[in-house]
């Protein structure tokens, strides 16, 4: 057999049928549902008098517009003050109850952002196809699973048929070789990749992230990278299976039973690209040269190293780009040549499916420990990715570290990543955010988002503006007296 990429293997092992024109039917192993993109799909099923094909493939949770304040959350769905949000969350609950779909309700400790809870529960396994009505489903590719976001019509299609109509994508490999510098993280790698290939660079491709720097990452770091494949235009991000993957999965609630384990591991070991597999496109990055990244504009490709400056539209390669930069600078209230470290911040958000896992919280806590959020920051918040992440962090005392520094410590959900709940930016406010999109209005009407890693966000919260976390951590922690306490 010809050498295959990991993507080729996953595609072939899920191909149900295929037409001459390349349109294919792909079997779906895991379907994750949330409140925003599912109501119309359930309604469609009912109208057509259809039933879900395979109930046990589905898992649901509400995450996008659940409140993150303890006050609202403690009262369950009834406690959601925003009427429209409450109806949507209630609708998910009604739909999954009536069809018998397993659901982690908003007061279940297993509730959280879908892309965090899938892996956490072992509901995302190597070799699976995983879909969800959410573009950041790419996250699950970190497990050597074929995972991508779908629209609501496709949610309905998967519910009704357990399959999806697809065309095979092309293969791209992004190799990151060498060793990352201290405090440079997976988030910086992926932002640097997007800066390099652009937000449409991966359109039409499944991207496999490879190379020694990727191998050295934990599963959490790999998830951060695959999560943002979509910001590079690729619906699918992948990392090959290795011991790190298998160790992570072992013992999780939905993982194979002890009797199935050895056979599963045998199967998973083959989930790597063959040595001589051909990729349609290969991009290589040197890990050692990646700096902590900060986005300055309104598209994730508008990103630079922390020591760089905001670009000058006059230097743009073409008209469309020039207009894009000019418009972005205007929206962001920045000027050409402004130093990134001179950007002052109003709010700091640590959370989202990109960076709200336990390692992210540990990294941020390590930076803020013993320090104080700057007086000029209106709000700094930490929103754990799931109830279980929150519990773990509390067991480690991270919540105390954040609270003492002046951060708010919230309940799990998407929160200010897309501001569908009450957590949002005011017009004109700058936010250091560990999320994945800096689009206009994404975090609130007129809000200005800067994408960074958790460590960079934490350092910015203390400094009040962007700083290089590598230099920042070497500055002495103020004594209580010096801090005026």
């Amino acid at each position: 057999m010809a050498a295959q990429t990991l993507y080729d293997k996953l595609w072939a092992s899920h191909l149900v049928s295929s037409r001459d024109d390349g349109t294919s039917l792909i079997y779906i192993d895991r379907h994750l549902l949330h409140e925003v993109t599912s109501p119309q799909a359930f309604e469609g099923l009912r109208l057509a008098n259809r039933r879900p094909w395979r109930i046990d493939a589905n898992i649901a949770t509400a995450d996008h517009n659940v409140p993150t304040s303890l006050k609202e959350r403690s009262a369950g769905i009834e406690g959601i003050e925003d009427n429209v949000s409450r109806i949507q969350v209630q609708t998910l609950d009604d739909n999954t109850t009536s069809f018998g779909i397993e659901t982690f309700g908003i007061n279940d400790v297993r509730q959280g952002i879908v892309h965090i809870i899938g892996p956490e529960q072992g509901a995302t396994l190597p070799g699976m196809t995983v879909v969800c009505g959410d573009s950041h489903t790419a996250t699950h590719g970190a497990f050597g699973a074929l995972a991508h976001g779908i629209g609501t019509s496709e949610v309905e299609h998967v519910l009704a048929t357990q399959c999806l109509i697809q065309r095979k994508m092309k293969n791209m490999q992004v190799r990151v070789e060498g060793q990352l510098g201290p405090h440079v993280t997976a988030k910086d790698i992926v932002l640097a990749i997007i800066g390099e290939i652009g937000t449409a660079g991966g359109t039409g491709y499944a991207i496999e992230f490879a190379g020694s720097a990727i191998r050295d990452l934990s599963m959490e770091g790999r998830m951060t990278i695959c999560n943002m494949a979509i910001e590079a235009g690729a619906r699918v991000g992948l990392v090959a299976v290795d011991d790190t993957t298998i160790d992570y999965v072992k013992g999780r609630p939905f993982a194979p039973t002890p009797e199935q384990w050895d056979a599963a591991v045998d199967n998973w070991r083959s989930l790597v690209s063959d040595d001589d597999a051909a990729f349609d496109k290969v991009v290589t990055l040197d890990a050692a040269s990646i700096e902590p990244q900060v986005s300055w504009g309104t598209s994730p490709e508008m990103v630079v190293g922390v020591h760089d400056s905001v670009p000058d539209p006059a230097q743009a390669a073409d008209d469309t780009t020039r207009r894009g930069i000019t418009r972005a600078l205007e929206y962001m209230g920045l000027h050409a040549g402004q130093k990134i470290t001179d950007i002052k911040l109003d709010r700091v958000f640590i959370g989202s499916c990109t960076n709200a896992r336990i390692e992210d919280l540990r990294a941020a806590a390590a930076v803020v420990k013993g320090r104080q959020v700057a007086g000029t920051i209106k709000q700094a918040m930490v929103v754990p990715g799931s109830g279980l992440v929150k519990r773990q962090a509390e067991q480690e005392g991270l919540d105390q570290v954040f609270r003492e520094a002046g951060f708010e410590w919230r309940e799990a959900g998407c929160s200010m990543c897309l501001a569908m709940n009450a957590d949002k930016l005011g017009a004109g406010e700058h936010c250091a955010s560990t999320s994945n999109r800096n689009f206009e209005g994404r975090q609130g009407y007129g809000g200005r988002t800067h994408l960074v890693s958790p460590a960079m966000a934490a350092a910015a919260a203390v400094a009040g503006h962007f700083v290089d976390v590598r230099e920042f951590v070497d500055t002495p922690v103020p004594t209580r007296r010096a801090a005026g306490l």
Partner: protein, 220 residues
Amino acid sequence: MKAFVRQKGLVAPLDRANVDTDLIIPKQFLKSIKRSGFGPNLFDELRYLDEGYPGQDCSKRPINPEFVLNQPRYENASVLLARKNFGCGSSREHAPWALEDFGFRVIIAPSFADIFFNNAFKNGLLLIQLDEATVDRLFDAVEQTAWYRLDVDLVGQTITTPDGETIDFEVDPFRKYCLENGLDDIGLTLTDNSEAIREFEARHRATQPWLFRGEAANQA
């Protein structure tokens, strides 16, 4: 889904690259549990000068006269001319729902984001990818000619300009078939493939039982 065969429509130009689905329909409108009614909030942040919220009467809101869709010459446009990477970002199908509800049936751009592309075809929109030079030319023509209309013929896969020039375009045969006939592809999948899916599933379960939790599939 509405069938699409041929459409002679007024063209509105949206001259910016990387238009994301957050811009097409902002998140506050995603709280709806319906499929329709998104048209008045299409491009909400560009169209109006205030912040929109669900359930508002949009006819009373201050409009942004600069924004292209607010200009009288583009009123009732059904063809949207756009720049590269149109529809990037979030997978929300509310984006094509809003475009369709507003009255668009065709979008022409040098490139589209993958998920948006899929979603649009499932909602009766025809997305046409043309090379950058041709798109540039169309932008110039629209700007210079008031009431510029294009005649888009899906069957023949051609666009005819007011000067009589024809531009060919590519479309995936399966998508074309579904669009021409207004077909719901769930029905198609179940009719053509139920047996194949069942067989696949049985094999899959036998070789990788850990992927299944229930005893037997709850098949339709």
